[in-house]
């Protein structure tokens, strides 16, 4: 099994897009801890993470592998990794989780970007509920920054909004896409990034 966005450079913790089925050992460990530990959420998450260390040795290491190598790892291992990452993220985040509509639209946007040879370097959950795809370009800045970025947000409400930001400009360019013009959106982003 591979992540929906397996080509993107995302950390294992942020691979919230793959959903396994059934109850895993990690689920049980997590549930036991939730029941037995009455403490603040951040402390709980830390304890869950610690308790998962043994399993995570195998699981997190897979997150750093290139996609091609990760594809060779048994499905069960990847399922456990994705489920544990999703559980921990859900417990540690105060934000709304992306729903199926956002996932579906994000996938459409991803495909549109790829059709213009744009590979998102980052995929993140939006605190208001949604998935944002980032493409970076332009000049290199301190601390691994880039002077330009394009962001395509697929919201839980079904909206798709694109943004192109350039350090040299005071305001970003932002426009909505109802999903029927994703090719145009990707084309605009390609022109922006390469311009």
């Amino acid at each position: 099994m591979t992540s929906l966005f397996s080509g993107a450079d995302i950390s294992g913790r942020d691979e919230l897009f793959s959903r396994g089925s059934g109850t895993s050992l990690l689920d049980e460990i997590f549930d036991d801890l939730v029941e037995s530990v009455g403490r603040a959420r951040d402390q709980l998450v830390a304890r869950v993470a610690t308790s998962l260390t043994v399993a995570a040795v195998a699981l997190t290491s897979t997150a750093e592998l290139p996609h091609e190598a990760a594809a060779e790892i048994p499905d069960l291992t990847l399922t456990l990794r994705d489920e544990s990452a999703q559980r921990i993220r859900a417990a540690s985040s105060q934000s709304t989780q992306p729903n199926e509509l956002a996932r579906s639209n994000a996938l459409e946007a991803l495909n549109a970007l790829r059709s213009y040879d744009l590979e998102p370097q980052r995929i993140v959950g939006d605190p208001d509920g949604g998935i944002a795809l980032y493409v970076f370009g332009g000049k290199s800045l301190p601390n691994r920054g880039r002077s330009k970025f394009a962001r395509v947000l697929a919201t839980n409400e079904g909206d798709i909004v694109a943004m192109c930001s350039d350090d040299a400009a005071e305001r970003p360019r932002i426009w909505a896409d109802d999903g029927s013009k994703l090719g145009n959106t990707a084309s605009r982003i390609q022109s922006f990034i390469s311009g």
Partner: protein, 144 residues
């Protein structure tokens, strides 16, 4: 738990950040939650305490720096102006907690403005971007 109080406009409000919310020294829109962006007040928290493996960076803003009189470029000329404001929200387990929220300019409400949900997503994105730009990333001193 302490009683909520007025936050001085010069006080630093710390926002802990995930690594993926940064582009170099710039804070990305994901760091802004329009329902209320949680921050910790400098009066009750040292920013270094917020740094952890999950939250490796911290940025700050101040009340005096919050965006005001914003009219999103995508909105009609007669549409309302927007502003961000801070509100003290101490919690049992975190007395430093406060939130930064948006509202229509001139309003005095302290809840997040529900009218924002009815605005086009492009407007919401512009507001998030404007707020994100007001955060400054903190770095440890080289000699520490």
């Amino acid at each position: 738990m302490r009683t909520p109080e007025e936050i001085p406009s010069e006080e630093r409000l710390f926002r802990k950040l995930r690594a993926e919310w940064l582009n170099g020294e710039a804070v990305l829109p994901e760091a802004v939650d329009l329902q209320g962006t949680s921050c910790d007040r400098a009066k009750y928290r040292n920013w270094e305490e917020l740094v952890s493996e999950d939250w490796p960076s911290v940025a700050f803003t101040r009340g005096v720096d919050l965006p005001r009189n914003l009219r999103p470029a995508s909105a009609p000329a007669d549409s309302p102006l927007w502003e961000f404001f801070s509100v003290d929200r101490p919690e049992t387990h975190n007395e430093a907690h406060c939130e930064i929220r948006p509202r229509r300019a001139g309003r005095t409400q302290t809840d997040a403005d529900s009218a924002l949900k009815k605005r086009p997503p492009v407007v919401r994105e512009e507001l998030k971007f404007a707020m994100a730009r007001q955060f400054r990333v903190l770095r440890e001193e080289p000699d520490r």
